[in-house]
């Protein structure tokens, strides 16, 4: 067995056994890490593999969260139902907006994803009857314990990582990565770059929606803050912090960032945005390839590794 697989196995074991030794706030944080990791890993598929830097994730996250709250209020707090609803609603939003957003590239793509995200925000703000407007919605409590919820979130994270792991090594994933490197050539080979990017966006949208659902149940409350574009930047920071094009980078980034934020907010309740901004600036200036790349360099120095990054 390769060292890397052993390492991952140990981490997975430690994570799975967490409810045994983590309680209360610590367990709460662990659950937060897990659900943000889901969204960050999905975003890495877009940013790291497909080369689509998007500021529109908040829309999928928030739509998933609101879908969960609304479905739970009308049909009861059934986790599988809300997960399905969140995935589908977010995926539909992605499916409808992607043909428009994919007409732009680079900075314009960034701006148009932001625009659609703000559109979702503005809609939720005004559509009082559905979303409660600025009051938000209370989410009916789930009939499972905190440790069980944590394990569900972890399980979904594992499933997502597995699925994405398979995807990026499959023909679909390879063509997607090729699209980032040389879109003209992809088309010249007879492959439709548009459709690969399209389905990637829809999938990522749905997965991010799942994270939103988990978030809604975790907080037992959804509000406009869940649709705010700060969330898009936060997720982007997590992916860049951990290292793009690794999938695991999203997990590492989510963990480091969530813990960092928790630590800061234990000292003061004020400086959340400062932390996000400072970390982002630091990443861009000093470690553009993220923490996992530092880890890889460390392992090479120590004599481990022998695989391509």
């Amino acid at each position: 067995m390769r060292p890397r697989t052993i390492l991952l196995g140990c981490i997975a074991l430690v994570a799975a056994l967490a409810p045994l030794y983590l309680h209360g706030y610590a367990l709460y944080l662990a659950t937060e890490v897990a659900l943000y990791a889901i969204a960050a890993a999905a975003l890495d598929l877009l940013v790291g593999y497909a080369g689509l830097v998007s500021l529109g994730q908040a829309a999928y996250f928030g739509i998933g969260a609101y879908a969960a709250a609304i479905v739970a209020a009308h049909f009861g707090a059934d986790l599988w139902l809300t997960l399905a609803a969140g995935f589908v609603c977010a995926a539909i939003f992605a499916a409808v907006t992607a043909p428009l957003t994919l007409r732009s590239h680079g900075i314009f793509f960034l701006m148009v994803t932001l625009a659609f995200s703000q559109l979702a925000y503005a809609t939720a703000d005004k559509w009082h009857s559905l979303t409660g407007g600025s009051d938000g919605l209370v989410v009916p409590k789930l009939a499972i314990s905190d440790p069980a919820f944590y394990l569900v979130a972890l399980g979904i994270l594992a499933a997502v990582m597995l699925a994405l792991g398979l995807l990026v090594r499959s023909p679909f994933g390879r063509v997607l990565a090729a699209t980032r490197q040389n879109e003209t050539r992809v088309r010249a080979l007879g492959l439709s770059a548009f459709w690969y990017k399209y389905w990637a966006i829809v999938l990522v949208g749905g997965i991010t929606g799942l994270a939103g659902v988990l978030h809604a149940h975790h907080r037992a409350f959804v509000s406009l803050a869940d649709l705010h574009w700060t969330n898009s930047v936060t997720l982007l920071v997590m992916v860049l912090l951990g290292g793009r094009q690794t999938l695991w980078g999203g997990v590492v980034g989510a963990a480091v960032f969530t813990l960092l934020e928790a630590w800061i907010s234990s000292k003061t309740d004020q400086w959340e945005m400062f932390v996000i901004g400072a970390v982002l600036i630091a990443i861009v200036l000093f470690t553009p390839r993220g923490l996992t790349s530092l880890f890889a360099s460390f392992r090479t120095m120590v004599g481990g590794g022998g695989e391509h990054a």
Partner: protein
């Protein structure tokens, strides 16, 4: 009477449009010359406003505030460009991300210095009070802002015709050829950045009596400025002016007629224009 209502709304929109123009034109210039999407531009506006507020409060002079804000903005702009952005030359996405980070940092720093309460800067005595215009009683200061905006529009257009303006346009068009003809592209970039942030800061200070200062102003104005340049086209000063008026009118009258859907209209406009005519209504391709 609706006519009076529309007149007031129209004038309000025009005044706001001028502030948007100050912000959007600078953003457009930075993008055209330096190929940088400066998402911290709204923060410059807000900082200018807060700084102007403090200067006016401490010195008692509104006019001094209007002088200090742009100067401080220019200096800040030069520091950011030289120290941070220049290191990322050629890495356009990283530059955008850096400005996003900067915007977030500045948001909290501003809140730390000036607090979270809403600050209003009263108009100077010479310009306070109402005046009868177009059949309504309307605040003098708003009219002053409209006039100021038009004047600055003309000034910027004229400035673009000066030799330095020509250098800026040359670098926008083809930085390599411009350099081969002896145009100091690095200096032009720095000066453009400084001028643009000065304009934004000035807008924030001059606009403080109209648009109150509070946390979140930076992001609000940034988004609106983005919509303006998207509609009017990146790289066009006239586009920024016309775009600002369109956006302000849509926003203002949108709120009037469809109070439920105001922001929706604005972002729908942005999303549609970006989807179907990414170069804007008046711009050349970025």
């Amino acid at each position: 009477m609706p006519l009076q209502l529309y007149t007031i709304e129209g004038l309000n929109s025009l005044a706001f449009a001028m502030l948007l123009f100050l912000l959007a034109s600078g953003f457009s210039l930075i993008f055209g010359v330096g190929r940088i999407a400066n998402l911290a531009h709204g923060s410059m506006y807000m900082l200018g406003g807060y700084l102007g507020f403090s200067v006016a409060q401490h010195s008692g002079s509104f006019w001094l505030a209007l002088l200090v804000a742009p100067v401080a903005g220019a200096l800040f702009g030069i520091v950011v460009e030289r120290l941070l952005l220049r290191r990322l030359y050629g890495r356009e996405l990283d530059q955008v991300l850096l400005t996003v980070g900067l915007a977030f940092v500045l948001a909290d720093v501003t809140r730390w210095i000036w607090g979270a309460d809403i600050r209003a800067l009263p108009a100077p005595p010479a310009l306070s009070g109402l005046v009868s215009v177009l059949g309504v009683l309307y605040p003098k200061y708003h009219l002053f802002i409209i006039a100021l905006g038009v004047v600055l529009f003309v000034v910027v257009l004229l400035a673009m015709r000066t030799p330095w303006g020509a250098k800026m346009r040359a670098v926008t068009s083809d930085p390599r050829i411009a350099a081969s003809l002896g145009v100091p592209t690095g200096t032009v970039n720095a000066l453009t950045f400084a001028a643009a942030t000065a304009l934004a800061a000035f807008g924030g200070a001059a606009g403080a009596p109209i648009v109150a200062l509070a946390p979140g102003l930076d992001l609000t104005m940034m988004l609106l400025a983005l919509i303006v340049v998207v509609v009017g086209g990146l790289g066009s000063i006239t586009g920024a002016f016309v775009g600002a008026i369109i956006v302000a009118l849509v926003d203002g009258f949108g709120r009037l007629f469809f109070p439920e859907s105001a922001s929706f209209l604005i972002f729908a406009l942005m999303a549609l224009v970006l989807s179907f005519r990414p170069q804007g209504l008046l711009g050349r391709a970025g």
